[in-house]
Symmetry: C2
Subunit: 358 residues, 2 copies
């Protein structure tokens, strides 16, 4: 038998069974979970038969939120607890139990190796019966699915605090670029843009670089009086997200035609486009003649920071020069819905495989 | 009366006074301390009358070593204890007491503002009588003094894990460039070189950059089998010093004519030279015609990593194109001796000022 780490979380199931025991028509559901560093979102969707098209808008039985489920940030115990809680809440609100669950797809940052996947699958396996289909993916995969309604084909570019490009071919090959943190060169990200802006301020102050309006804009934003004080400010807390919050200041300076800010944003555009190109070329998403159509899903604060200077549009026009078949997509649903759609598509694929095998 | 935080450390003074109480000829001494992040070194030198030239080699009564005295790293209590212990040990070994001390110069990393200086001066003031002259400086100042035998004139370039350029004019004006950490653009440093090399490996792996021999050399050094594993390696401990230790690998690849490694080192040379140029120009160390002589003291593992590819020599030839009067100096004494010489020179300056004021 399975071990339940935390029985109280699931107490609602007994109550539901008492009330609903005459109800033979148990409705199957799918759980999609987006596990980020800030919080964890779980979506409970009804299971839609494979013969049906997806309704628009998608039916969502419940949406629940819990704390961080990234074990790198909060430790394994807290991460598992957040995860279990957010799923139990979603099922309770949908008046469902684990026995109604057809499939679970958890997309979570920090899944870079099969070992990461196996460890997290083992957590889920302790919670669900063995016939429940479980899928664990890198968060980029659910972001792609949120733009393609669950179909794993094309490329996704995420550019928020960090950046990653991730792609899939229709026959299941995959490739990624960047996504390794700033030490390893994620310079197109919000952190990368902000760090280059801070560097430009120090260079101007030292006499190593041109004067820039970034100096006053950043000092005003941070309520500092001199560039010297930036040293203390960064040492006090060098977390990437805190530094990446300076992104809008850089975009505003570029809007006001500051050449240093514009250079930094063009550099970011070049970096982001090169990540996408690397993935597209390795997977030949553009076909042999380079003109095949493929979706490019674009997600994250950097690509959405569209004032006059629109980084996302610049990246897209840069990519479409090389790949005229690129189809830009800005997702209308959140990544947790993408994860649920992913689970649904995995189920379809498995049922096809079983049908062909039988 | 002064408060002694830790009387036991100074117990030796009572014993010395008992033994030496008939000795009227108390020899005055100077303490020079180099407080780094790894350890703290203290030098006790006899006080040399101002009318004398400095003997060669310099007389050193004692050299002692204690733990870290950087309060950012180990906290204030541990930092103060290391500092007090290393000075007491140096005096005890020199058979001197605090009443023999003419001056103390402490040069320590992380002194960027007058507030840093005042806080550390207050620590010293609790230990020494009010007639002892106390000086607290950024560690770059003692590094300059270690090359100029205590004279504050010229520029010092330090390039180890981090990098900073610091300069003084003969009339006491000072300027600095860089020294603000990698987030704020210290890219010529050992950390900067190694981080760019790691980035190049990831780029090659992603298909975003050219193939490079850095890949195998770095993976071999770190005993990893794939560039993917570099992500885990950097996340496990992103400390700058650990990453900077890859510097020799990059220099070896440049020696073997790897174009990516050579590019990274040329970039470092350009960054380091630009820091020096910024300081020299702001202080007009090169005079109005740009040809005046001035010393450039060069310190740190990056400038000493002289295989065939010699970063220090490249930096120097880059600087001497703009400033033909530059006089390169590789110090023969350690920074703690530089700090002691600095104290001696400060005393000379003060005695001149007093003589002029009287």
């Amino acid at each position: 038998m399975k071990r339940y780490r935390n029985r109280r979380i699931w107490d609602f199931e007994h109550e539901l069974k008492m009330v609903d025991r005459d109800d033979d028509d148990v409705k199957k559901v799918i759980l999609g979970i987006d596990g980020g560093t800030a919080h964890t979102v779980c979506i409970c969707m009804p299971f839609i038969p494979f013969t049906h098209h997806l309704p628009d808008p998608l039916p969502v039985l419940a949406r629940t939120v819990a704390g961080c489920s990234n074990h790198n940030s909060v430790g394994e115990t807290a991460a598992r607890e957040s995860l279990e809680q957010v799923m139990a809440d979603a099922l309770a609100r949908s008046r469902s139990t684990r026995s109604s669950v057809e499939a679970v797809c958890l997309s979570v940052s920090g899944v870079n190796h099969p070992t990461d996947q196996h460890r997290i699958l083992n957590w889920l396996r302790e919670i669900f019966a063995s016939d429940v289909r479980l899928f664990v993916e890198n968060d980029a995969v659910a972001a792609l699915a949120s733009g393609t309604m669950g179909k794993l084909h094309g490329c996704v570019l995420i550019a928020g605090t960090g950046t990653i490009a991730y792609g899939f071919t229709e026959d299941g090959r995959q490739a990624r670029a960047a996504g390794a943190g700033p030490v390893l060169g994620d310079w197109g990200s919000g952190y990368g843009i902000a760090a280059q802006a801070l560097t430009a301020v120090i260079r101007a102050h030292d006499g190593r670089g041109p004067l820039t309006t970034l100096t006053n804009s950043i000092l005003d934003t941070l309520k500092l009086s001199s560039p010297d004080q930036l040293i203390g400010w960064t040492y006090a807390d060098p977390s990437w997200a805190r530094i990446a919050e300076l992104l809008p200041v850089v975009v505003s300076c570029a809007d006001a035609m500051d050449p240093v800010a514009i250079d930094i944003l063009y550099n970011s555009v070049h970096e982001l486009a090169s990540s996408v190109k690397a993935v597209v070329e390795r997977l030949e998403l553009c076909g042999e003649d380079g003109k095949d159509e493929f979706p490019l899903v674009m997600v994250g604060s950097v690509l959405e920071a569209n004032k006059r200077w629109d980084i996302g549009n610049q990246v897209m026009s840069c990519i479409s020069k090389d790949f005229p078949g690129v189809l830009p997509i800005r997702p209308k649903v959140e990544p947790a819905v993408g994860a649920a759609l992913l689970a649904w598509n995995f189920l379809i694929k498995h049922s096809h495989q079983e049908a062909m095998g039988s």
